[in-house]
């Protein structure tokens, strides 16, 4: 796209062909290069796994558009179509002065000095904000939603509201945070928050609240740039740090941790998934908004743009899941392109999970080679491999396909899937409660 525009500037007519998944990038590039509305030809995405004959079919189909863009046979070339102007920037808040901003910076510094942050600046919170948040959800502020008995700490609705506001939430985000915290099993889950394995809390959001609050489920789903994902994910960490008192290097003993500990919140791309969404698979009505929380050691990419058979893609995914580092549970966050390729051959979500589970593991000799077998059991995985188990035996890492969460998320612009390993298959789903005022 950029090249086409550059060549036009050099005086040569150019026709750029984009796959449909890249049209937003194409439009943005045209705008950036001062050629808003520059015309290009579009073909269906993807092309990277097509055969030569399929490429020729695409070429035949797109040729009329290419010719039209090049002006072949036309009386006069079409001018770039006018594109709507971007929305006007909002006005700066009234009454700002350099002094008021310095005040705010002093407040931000104070939070750092108190050790009340995750290492990033927080939004200062006063009692009115807390009341506003608590009032919005209509719950008792002193209700205990999470406790760590061995540390003697609790998280109340009120403390959760403080964390949410500090993280940058608006009060509309608060019910989503509460659903996550309500879903925890205190004794098991809070212990994992301290583990040397350094797991983060990953959250997947399903249902209409994704659109209402603007959760990102598409391009860069694990990445930055979207307030709802960022602030809900971050609020969990601020609950852990401030309400539960689990701070890095003290009660949080993560050996290395993961960047996901800052925030790790995605939404499922239900619109581009060929399957029923995660919450429906887990027994909730399709119209419910639901959070699913799990512990996550990080992300492992599976980049496969050339596979054409479901088994190829799934074996590639299973191979990545089968890293010998302990994981007995997994979230498989499949890009829409892989999901469509697999579903188009008649595979259900259950078929996919079963296939992955069957191929998820290692031969015992691999584990022995890496020093992961002690006294007849494999360390970390705690797999049952009694003495006398042959070395060539394939040991499955999980007990059933239920150890796999299958989620569709990301952009439909390349064959990509991400594996999120968990120490054990521990995940909880919870419906987001409607605030009493709103009803629905």
């Amino acid at each position: 796209m950029a090249d086409g525009i550059l060549l036009e500037r050099h005086g040569v007519p150019a026709a750029s062909i984009l796959t449909d998944a890249f049209t937003p990038s194409g439009n943005a590039m045209a705008r950036t290069m001062g050629a808003k509305g520059y015309r290009y030809a579009v073909i269906p995405h993807p092309i990277s796994n097509l055969t030569a004959e399929q490429c020729r079919e695409r070429a035949r189909a797109v040729l009329p558009d290419v010719l039209e863009i090049l002006g072949v046979g036309a009386e006069r070339p079409a001018a770039p179509a006018p594109a709507p102007d971007p929305a006007r920037a909002p006005d700066e808040p009234a009454g700002l002065t350099g002094e008021r901003i310095r005040d705010l910076q002093r407040i931000v510094e104070y939070y750092f000095e108190r050790g009340w942050t995750d290492g990033l600046p927080v939004v200062p919170v006063s009692e009115d904000t807390v009341c506003d948040f608590v009032d919005y959800v209509g719950r008792d502020p002193e209700e205990v939603i999470l406790r760590v008995d061995h540390l003697g700490t609790v998280c109340t609705v009120r403390l959760a509201a403080v964390a949410a506001a500090m993280a940058g939430c608006a009060r509309e985000h608060f019910p989503v945070l509460l659903a996550v915290l309500d879903s925890f099993q205190p004794s098991v889950d809070t212990a994992l928050l301290q583990s040397t394995s350094g797991q983060a809390v990953m959250v997947t959001v399903n249902g209409p609240i994704r659109r209402e609050l603007g959760f990102n489920s598409g391009a860069n789903v694990f990445g930055p740039g979207h307030r709802a994902n960022a602030v809900v994910g971050r609020a969990i960490r601020l609950v852990v740090v401030n309400a539960l008192g689990i701070r890095s290097g003290e009660f949080d003993q993560g050996t290395q941790g993961t960047p996901g500990k800052y925030c790790f919140c995605i939404a499922e791309n239900e619109e581009e998934s060929p399957w029923e969404p995660l919450h429906v698979e887990r027994g909730f009505p399709a119209g419910a908004s639901v959070t699913t929380a799990n512990f996550a050691r990080g992300t492992l990419p599976v980049d496969n743009r050339s596979g054409t058979e479901p088994e190829q893609i799934l074996l590639n995914i299973a191979d990545t899941m089968s890293s010998t580092t302990a994981s007995r549970g997994c979230a498989v966050v499949m890009g829409p392109e892989h999901a469509h390729l697999i579903a188009s051959r008649g595979w259900s979500k259950q078929d996919v999970r079963r296939f992955l589970w069957e191929h998820w593991g290692r031969r015992r000799e691999d584990l022995r080679r890496f020093g992961l077998v002690h006294d007849g059991v494999t360390a970390g995985h705690r797999l049952s491999a009694p003495p006398g188990t042959p070395d060539e035996e394939f040991l499955r890492f999980a007990e059933s396909p239920d150890a796999i969460l299958l989620i569709v998320a990301g952009a439909r612009n390349a064959g990509m899937t991400t594996i999120v390993p968990m120490i054990r298959p521990l995940f909880h789903s919870r419906a987001v409660q409607d605030p009493p005022r709103r009803g629905r």
């Binding site: 550059l6 036009e8 040569v12 150019a14 050629a35 490429c55 072949v72 700002l96």
Partner: protein, 97 residues
């Protein structure tokens, strides 16, 4: 409009590209040289080759110039653009994946 807060975005301070207008078009491709610029992503060249063949067979294009840009993530280097522009009457380019 206040202006106490500093605008952190780079684009607003950057040089604005000059006014854009399309290069002059030709109504007929017979006897011309057409460039095919692949972005190096898999199959982008296969697609462009197929388009090139069709242009040759059906529209009388005389010569095809197939080029690959050095790296898909950056625009075409200036000297390659100048070179293509001097050798070609029109260029077709594709973004793959």
């Amino acid at each position: 409009m206040g202006s106490v807060l500093v605008d952190p975005t780079g684009a607003s301070k950057g040089p604005t590209p000059g006014a854009f207008s399309l290069a002059p078009r030709r109504r007929d491709l017979a006897g011309t040289t057409v460039g095919l610029l692949a972005n190096t992503k898999y199959n982008s060249d296969t697609l462009l080759d197929a388009i090139g063949e069709l242009l040759r067979e059906r529209y009388g294009v005389a010569r095809l110039v197939a080029e690959r840009k050095p790296y898909f993530g950056r625009p075409l280097p200036e000297e390659m653009a100048t070179d293509l522009a001097s050798r070609c009457d029109a260029v077709v380019t594709a973004i793959g994946d």
